[in-house]
Amino acid sequence: MAITLNISLAEEQKGWLNSRREAGGFSSQSDVVRDLIRSEQEREKQALLIQFRQMEQDGSNEAEPAEILKMVKQVKKVRRAS
């Protein structure tokens, strides 16, 4: 379901949006904004994947001790009680 947002833009930004609409063959400014959001989401997804790949060797390779879960449970209890 589409929702409507009112967004304030500087005159220069509005001009850029219109240029982009015309140059990209978009039928409306909303289409331009939706396309920008999709592009940004894709860019962020790729950046997060690259970051994950850089980190994936982090952490212990040994078996996880059962006491860790008890420790987590205890921290959660203290936190939720406060």
Partner: protein, 137 residues
């Protein structure tokens, strides 16, 4: 939605099912959600274990938490109702799942798992979750 137990295990151990859940998230295999309350619990729980448990070794944990936050869609918290009979402290995590309309709470916490499907969110282990997601076409 990922419970703190899975976040702690996934960040601290690279060979377990919880890490495989995070790998699947990185690959876009499912959508993770969070609320401000759950995000704070992730952070506080990971920080506590990092500072107090020598066998938990990931000096890069702050970057992992940032990555997880950016990889999880944010929804607003809703008021907590009494839900969990066995451990009332788990009411908050169930309410977070309700707030984000989660289909699953992925957890290693026995109290949460015993709830089975509170408010429609199935409480399942990382292993079962991987099985469910990887079976999907």
């Amino acid at each position: 939605m990922l419970d703190s137990s899975v976040v702690v295990s996934g960040i601290g151990w690279r060979g377990g099912d919880a890490r495989r859940v995070l790998t699947l998230l990185a690959a876009g295999g499912f959508q993770s959600y969070r609320t401000p309350w759950l995000t704070a619990e992730w952070s506080e729980t990971v920080q506590y274990v990092a500072e107090n448990e020598k066998r938990w070794r990931n000096p890069n944990w702050i970057h992992w938490l940032e990555w997880l936050k950016r990889s999880s869609k944010l929804a607003a918290d809703i008021p907590i109702k009494k839900t969990v009979k066995r451990d009332p402290n788990d009411d908050a995590v169930v309410m977070a799942a309700v707030a984000v309309h989660a289909s699953c709470i992925v957890t290693s916490d026995g109290d949460l798992l015993s709830l089975q499907k509170p408010y429609g969110a199935a409480c399942i282990t990382p292993r079962d979750f991987l099985g469910v997601i990887l079976r999907q076409p």
